[in-house]
Every structure is written in C-alpha cells, then in structure tokens.
Symmetry: C2
Subunit: 393 residues, 2 copies
C-alpha cells in the first residue's frame, strides 16, 4: 500500500534518533520517553500508539496498539506492551533523569508516569525535538513539495468554482473535494493545548475583520461559535475579497498557501494592500539568506508596510496586530522557526517556512498572500506555485 | 450572523454553571478553573481563549483573546486579561482547593498554574464536567438532530456517487463537499492526548481488516502511515464492501452514523454479518430503557452475535476485539456513557448514544451499522435516518 516514501522515512529513522541522542548528551538528558504521535512518527516512521525510549546505549520501541502495523512501518524492533506500566521492567537500566514532552503530555498522564518511574526526575524534551525537526531532510522536503503542489492545484481552480451567493463553507467543501483524492490528510496538526487547525480557511468580505483565539491577523466567523475560525455560512458577495488560506497535508507534512480573489472589482484599498503584501513577500524571499535572524523577517516586513502607508492595517486590526510574518512548517502546521519579533536565532539552509504578510481593513475585509519556501543559500525557493495575481472573476 | 441557536445556548449558561456548582459542593471542590475550549463553550456559549473561574459565590469569565467576540456570544460578563497570571489578583478570595481539567491540561501549563496559585491544592474537575455533559438539554438535542440530518443526507447520496475505481479518499471528498455547505464543522473533537478524529471514515474491502491505534473494531489504512486511520488512496473495487462511518458536527455537537454499500454483489458472509449487526442495533434500540446498565448493551449485543454464529468476527478481528458497542456523543465524538464492559452505571433519559455493532472478517473486510439515538422512556429514538438496507449499486 505504501511505497517509496515509507522506504525513505525508514532510512531516516536511525539518523534522527542519533541526532536526538547528541542533543540529549549536550543537554545532560540521560534518557527520553517520546509519547506524542507526531514525534513518534518522526523518530519511528510509525504513528501507532506507544512510546519510544532512548538512552545513550539503546532505543526501545514499545507499542500498545497496533503492533502489526508498527512492525510493517518502522525499521525499529517493536515490543508489544499492554500498558506503559510495563516499561520499567523492560529497561536494562533505570534512568535517574527522563525527558518527556511536557508541553503536550497531560497532567494526569504525567502523574501516572511519576508513579511508573518513582524517584526519577523529569525534564521537558520537546525543545530539543522541535529544534531537530526544524531542519528538514531531502525526503521531508519532497513530502512538503507534494503537499504544496496539492494546494497550488486547488487554488488555481478557485476562479472556476467561485460563484456569487455560494457560502464560504460551500467553497471550502469544493476545495476539499479537489484535494482529498490527491492524498490530502485533512487532519491538520497544531501542537499544544486548545490548538485546532483546518484546511478550509475561506474568508470573504467582513469575515476577514473577525479575529479568533489564535494569534493570527484574522480568524473568520467559522461555522458557529463552537468553532469560531475559518469558513462560515456567510454567502460570498460581489466586489468583496475572498481570501483562501489553504493548509494541506501529505504524509503528515504540511504546506500553507494564501491567495485572494473577487467576483467583480475589489475596493481600491484592498487592491493596493494586496499588492503591498505581495511586494513584502517577494522582498523577504529574495533578500533572506541562511544566517538571517528570525525576527529580521518581521521587522523588514513591517518597515515596508509602513513605508507604503499601510502600517495601521498590517498583520491585523488595531490593537490586535500580531508580531509575526511567518512560521516554520513541517509535521505541525506552525513550528520553529517563528519569523516573529523577539525570535533572534538564525534561519538555516534546509528549513521550510511560510511567509504570510496580511492586512485587515476594518469594514472592508482582509487581504494577503502566503507561500511556503525552502531556505537555500540563494534565498527562499517557493514550493507553492499557484498564480499570484489578484483574480477578479 | 448567529441566530436563534446562540440565544438558546445563552439561556442554558446559568443553569449549567449552577449544576456544576452543585456537583462541586457535593464533591468538596471549592473552586474550579475551566480552560479547555470545549468545556468553556459548554459553560459560557463562547469558545474563545480564556478561563472560567467558578466558586460558590461567583463566576468570572476571563478572556485572553478574542474579547469582542466572547462579549457578543456569552451572557457572562467578560474580563479581558493579557495572561492567566492576572487571575489571582482579580479574585475576591483565593481558594485553597482548585479544580482543573487535569486529563487535558498539559503538564507544563499545570506547573505554571501551580506558580500562579501557590499553596493551592489541585483536583481533577473533568469527571464532574463530563458527568454533567452526559445528559443533554432540549437545545443540545436539537443541535445533534441537525448534525444527524446532515450525515443522513450525505449517506443517502452515496449510491449515486459510488463508482468503481474511485479511491476511498475521493469518496470522502465528495461527502465533505455535500456536508460542508450544511454548516458541518469538519473539525471533529475527541478528548485526550494523541486522540484525533475525522469525518471521512471511508473503508473498502481489505482496508476494513486494518486496525488503528484507537480502541475500535477497525481503522482503515488512512492517507499514509502519518495518519493511519480512515480513507486511503486504495481504489474501490467491485464486489467488496464500502463502509462509510460518517461523523458530522453542527454547532460543536456531533452525530455518528455508519452504512454499508457495494458495487455489485457482496460476499455472503459479509451480507449475513451486516444483517446480524442490523438485528443487534434494532434489538438494543427497542429493548433499552432508562435505568439499563451501560454494559448491558455490550453483553446483549455480544450474546446475539454469538447466537447467530458470528462471535469470532464481532467488534474486530481476534485478538483485537473491542469491548464496547457504543458511546455517548455530544461536544466530543465519544463521551460518557460508554456502552462497554465494566461500565455499570445506568443510562438516563436525555442521554444521546451511538450504537455501532460491527464485524471484521479477515481477508474480506468489515461491515456494520451505526445510528445516533436519544434515550427516551420508550426506548432509543434514532436521530440518524439514512436508509438501512445494504445497497448493492
């Protein structure tokens, strides 16, 4: 069922585990127990339910369910266990210090692990894992390229689908129909408590002026107050902006891309705002080089927006303007590096980032553009490719 | 934008808070801080980012983001805060014992809360919240009915969409296109760590024999090892079963429904297995009354399956057979009551449950049926309504 991609991921596994082992050693973390599905997939090539134990001498891959599939997928030897409680008795040596993903492991499970590993000190291992995941391998780049192609394919179809009076959710449904048969995973992963994400970010007209609980320039009404983000039942009208921020996922790897459309002519401020966003994205992509500070992206973007007279609308309505213009992307829809104020580490070759300059005009709506790029020595290479002109259907 | 449904939910808010307050008092929980989005929506009618503090004298609704929307949605007064750290200074009296949702709050956030509330003892409040959410109000029943109608509408269309050679993901995409414009939320909520759920559970032929990490009779290949559940790129062939387990969500409230189809004739064991599943569902729905033990459903279902000679295939392939035949459903796709072995509490009027007898035949595939029912004094009343005959297209 699963061909060459699985073979490439399998090959990566020993390298990834070895890289984590080095980081653990540098940070005096004796052993780690990895439990989150996404991280497990990264280190084992399987997303079944279990735990990966790593110390300096060995890695032990425990599976609660479903072992036959984990055996088929992972190059690691699978040890089937009925419960995490079994783990200590299966370790050759019990650690004194154990790394856990404390940013995502729930408190109750943490208490349970404290009982399973008495007298053990726990430390958060997630920062090391996320640091490692930040730089992508060739095989990861290929998977994100594929996700990006799926998104580009769908965005190029929007002008043919868009119809006055259709609801945002209807357009979202049409896009899902296009991308599912390409292998789109649909379940978009976002790390952390209360974090939810989706593919169907279709926002039209004044929907673009509604914010959400997430730190983003715009939210959208969403289908209801229960899920107050993304596409809603609002009908799409004439002469209003239709912003489609399409997240796709292939083999667990995400891509993020935004384009704007309208039925009929768009109000002039939105049109000009869109062109400034496009200019910002192009300048950043052309000028960025490995070694650039993550916050340079935000500062440069903001200064262009201000020069062009759009500072008040950039990255959200006042006083809710966000302080980031982009984010890393991979097994989670937003991950390190964050191209944001206060993030002063450097970007490196092999990272993949989305850059998304956006503007919100109160009463009018939101415009913006987004592409997903590979960081190369020559600047940022776009992986997303839908045509960038603002399309007035 | 949001009409009568929001008004009904707003009216519920004081009643729900009062009911939790009673349960807290019975269980010696002095105060509670509710943080999870789903629970916040239940108690405030808004799913913005914040916290609801409840003690015996007052409730305080703190919002980090996005306050304008929370103010529009909730009948509670909204107190805008930049960070959870502000909360203690805003409380008239600091509690000694504080309830938190420890099953879902991550360990790191728990440590932060321990610093914010020094010298406070914490207790898990989730069991009380989940107990409360188990019995539905009239307005919740109406929302689940609507979700059920959306699913029924789509399942009745399957015979017209199904085509030899289309992939499971393609059929899934067609269903999404049908249900999104009806207000389907698409983001299906499942409580707990590593729990992921989706609408698009389309499983054909031998896909039905593949299990997943979740405790369910069948999993499906999924789009890749990264998301090993649900629809895959496998083409749908002739004379094999196509099982569609469709989860829908309206205003945050879920419905769950399963139907089976085939292109051409289905192998005899699958056909008979399906009829036994249908019989089990009908017997349970007819015989159940408020007061029945949750595990009665499982035991009765299993005994019918065995009488009919299908015990070996019931609820999964050996040795992975599950021990439940249904689950409560509401703001999360599976919640109390669990119609499962070992659950000996009683079901009550006003609960909503999905009953899903399923069978897995190694080498052939999986069949089954599922409906969502309201527990009434006369037995279970189905809210899902797609026609139940096995359809050979």
């Amino acid at each position: 069922m699963f061909g060459h991609q699985l073979e490439s991921l399998k090959e990566e596994v020993p390298r990834r585990i070895e890289a984590l082992r080095s980081l653990m050693s540098e940070n005096q973390i004796e052993a780690a127990l990895i439990l989150q599905r996404v991280d497990l997939y990264y280190f084992t090539a399987s997303a079944q339910e279990g735990a990966l134990y790593i110390d300096k001498n060995q890695e032990l891959f425990f599976i609660k369910k479903y072992a036959p599939r984990a055996r088929e997928e992972s190059p690691l030897e699978v040890i089937e266990i009925p419960s995490l409680k079994e783990i200590p008795s299966l370790l050759p040596q019990k650690p004194k210090l154990l790394g856990l993903e404390l940013d995502v492991v729930p408190a109750e499970l943490f208490f349970e692990l404290k009982q399973i590993f008495p007298q053990v000190e726990f430390k958060n291992i997630s920062p090391l894992i996320l640091k490692l995941r930040m730089v992508k391998s060739q095989c990861e780049i290929e998977l994100i390229k594929e996700a990006a192609q799926i998104a580009s394919f769908a965005l190029d179809k929007v002008p043919h689908i868009l119809r006055e009076g259709m609801s945002e959710l209807e357009l979202a449904g049409e896009l899902l129909r296009l991308i599912m048969p390409k292998g789109h995973q649909e379940y978009i992963r976002m790390r952390g408590f209360n974090r939810e994400a989706h593919s169907w970010h279709v926002i039209s007209g004044k929907s673009g002026t509604i914010l959400s609980h997430i730190d983003a320039p715009m939210g959208g009404f969403g289908p209801s107050p229960a899920y107050p983000m993304g596409a809603s039942l609002k009908p799409i009208g004439k002469n209003e902006v239709v912003l489609v921020d399409l997240s796709t996922c292939f083999w667990g790897y995400h891509s993020d891309q935004t384009r704007c459309f309208s039925i009929g002519k768009l109000p002039e401020p939105l049109k000009r705002g869109y062109e400034v966003c496009r200019k910002i994205a192009n300048v950043l992509a052309k000028d960025a080089r490995p070694g650039a500070s993550a916050q340079w992206f935000y500062k440069r973007a903001k200064s262009i927006a201000e020069q062009e007279g759009f500072g008040d609308y950039f990255l959200g309505p006042k006083p809710y303007q966000t302080k980031f213009v982009g984010h890393g992307i991979g097994l989670e829809i937003s991950e390190l590096p964050f191209l944001a104020l206060g993030h002063d580490y450097s970007i490196q070759e092999g990272m993949i980032v989305s850059i998304e300059p956006k503007m919100v005009f109160p009463d009018l709506g939101a415009v913006g553009i987004e592409n997903t790029y590979l960081v190369s020595s020559e600047g940022l290479v776009p992986l997303t490719s839908a045509q960038e002109d603002l399309i007035e259907v």
